[in-house]
């Protein structure tokens, strides 16, 4: 994962407090929706062929939180993995960008890594 913590991991109680304060902020409007965003599936054909890789999607997020255009900015090298990522993200719901208190359309970039283990 990106954004690995550089400092030592915080104490468990500290995590709980942080989580609680985050939850307070999140639960205000969006948590239920966000938890319904699934990860892309790992296509069986890609697993059978040992396909792994990292791709980057540019996603247009509408003011209503739905997904608009999706562009593959950087391919994983495998059409199956790129397609699985695009098809999944297409159905995601987002917290829209806001200017002040007004929701607006915006673009975000989402890096997705497919990795085989075991």
């Amino acid at each position: 994962m990106a954004n690995q913590p550089l400092s030592p991991p915080p104490h468990a109680a500290q995590i709980a407090r942080t989580a609680q304060s985050d939850e307070t902020m999140v639960q205000a409007r969006y948590q239920a929706e966000m938890l319904n965003n699934p990860k892309p599936p790992y296509p069986l054909a890609a697993r059978l062929r040992g396909q792994q890789g990292r791709l980057l999607l540019a996603v247009q997020v509408y003011a209503d939180g739905s997904c608009g255009d999706i562009r593959t900015e950087q391919s994983s090298g495998y059409a199956l993995l790129d397609a699985a990522a695009r098809e999944t993200v297409r159905h995601w719901h987002f917290l829209p960008a806001r200017r002040g208190s007004v929701a607006v359309d915006a673009w975000v970039e989402i890096p997705i890594t497919f990795r085989l283990e075991g």
Binding site: N3, N37, K39, P43, L44, A79, G118
Partner: protein, 680 residues
Amino acid sequence: MKLKFSRRLLVLAIASAASAHATEPATLPEVTVIGAGVYTPQHVYNLPLDPGENAAARDAATLIETTPGAAVVRNGQQTGIVQLRGLTGDRVNISVDGMHITPACPNHMDPPLHYITVQSLAEMQVIAGITPVSQGGDSIGGTVIVKSAAPRFGNDTAFSSFGRIGAGYNSSNSGKDEHVQAGSANDRFSLGYAAEHQQGDNLRFPGGEVADTGYTLNNQDLTFALKSAAGVWRLDAGKHNTHDAGTPALPMDMIRDDADKLALDYQGDTGFGTLEAKIYRHNIDHLMDNYSLRAAGASRMFAPATSDDSGASIATAVARGNSILRFGAEFLRNEFDAYSQNAVSGVQQDIIRDATRDRLGIYGEWQASHGGSWQTIAGLRQDTVKSDAADIVNRGMAPVSDQTIFNSRDHDITDHNWDATLLARYRASPGSDFEIGLARKTRSPNLVERYIWSPSNASAGQADGRTYLGNLDLRPEVSHQVSLGAAWHSAAWRIAPSVFYNRVSDYIQGTPTARLDSSGNPVLQYTNLGRADLYGMDGRWNYRWSDAISLRGTLSYVRGENQDNGDNLYRIAPLRGDVNLDYRRGAWKHTVEWRLAARQDKVSAYNGETPTGGYGLVNLRTRWQLGKAVTLSAGVENLFDKYYADHLDGINRVTGGDVPVGAHIPGAGRFLYLAGEYGW
């Protein structure tokens, strides 16, 4: 699966909201999708197809030479026949773009890998040992699967072009290669064309030239593919033409070999399963003679042959929990005809007349992960093999009794074969794996072994100089195999050895009869031995010294014994290995390879095989890659210009060159190669 990063995503989405007016989109935290790796047995090797290392390869078979357990039997420059763990020819399963190709030459001048060129290869997988039943039947050895490039598609509706163009030169035989691939595609349609021309003169060795080793090859392919939500359809048409390819270890040379193929493929992939289907036709029209490229002997003979393969296959894989289930079926039909004709008198003699070999195979395979430490692949397969041949019409100079006896017998023979395989891997710790494989495998006799009706020097490429007689009473060979593997690894190194034992009941081999051939040697008739054993070990290792420097190597050993009389099996690769030092820096990769083979004195007595000495060769290779567009490769092979003869390279039969008749054909002396390619 739910997102664990959703909270962070929210925070970043909010952060991005603050800068929503900015032109740069916010980058959200990475999503990592972990898939369960599909268990691949240790003896399955996906070759890297490094353009720098492939530039000096004469044919596709050359590329497997340093794969553990693999070796190449060669009767000419373009005739590489795969040997895996001591089993050769039809005992090894070869899949070329999903096609099963039956050589038209009764001496396998044109083995299956002859029909795909080095430059058109995109994937090459060698299964050196037990092959899961889903990967093929009717073979008791391992498997080689080669594929040309999959069709390319674009990201949107606009068409864009792609391609690559390249050329290579090789001073061992003034060999040249020119190839081009070009096409245009959008997100739904793809059209591609590929062409390649290869030409080489006689091979040079320290001491002169190996006469009768030149060749000319042309290959063309046209591919149209269509992608829809249901999958990818691909239509592929191709022509492969070989001219004047000498085979000094055989009694004739390949004068003309024209192959046409037409194939329709479907690949459907969804999140829960795959479906693959293929139908194809591959026709070979082959002509050989013994006077165009070599000094004619007592009689000038030529021999035309045709081999037409048709096939249909369907395979599905479905994931269920921790399991993957595979089911499939394939039908293959080969139509074969070959005769020889005296170029002076015009007298014709049938070699095999209007023969067919049909095979229907079905299989089921269960691949499972058991609690993380254990992975297994278990499969069952049934193949029905039906072969037939017409009565002999043209007996030429052969005794009339041979014709009478053959024609009096029924030639329609059906075998019902079954295979079972079990492979299991145990992960004892993150750094150590152990593997066991058990298998029963069956191979039905080929058309040469069954239907050579009068003593002939057609022997499916054995090239032992003997005369062979077919046998209508042959039974299928049945192999029982066990293999044990271990792999120890860390981030910096890995070592993975395997040992194997293969007991083959009814192993088919020529055995001396009371008849003598024109050289005074006994005619050998294909017969089922009681039992033959093959055993040995192979493996590979690598060690990463730093990001720039790494070492890697392989080692292979196999023994083959006829347990009926203690004789050795014929033409078995000697103990061999290689050590490579790789140095990578920026766009450069340099390799020093030290390739070693031991003396082979475990030779077969029944056909007078002779030993060969060991050798060691040093090869230097370098590659320079500029982005994805430009690759330049160069190298010096056999740096010290050593004279050597590989045990599997055959015995010279051609007079007038610098290699005496009856001597082992030497390998190339020191030579330089250069290759370059541009892609877009």
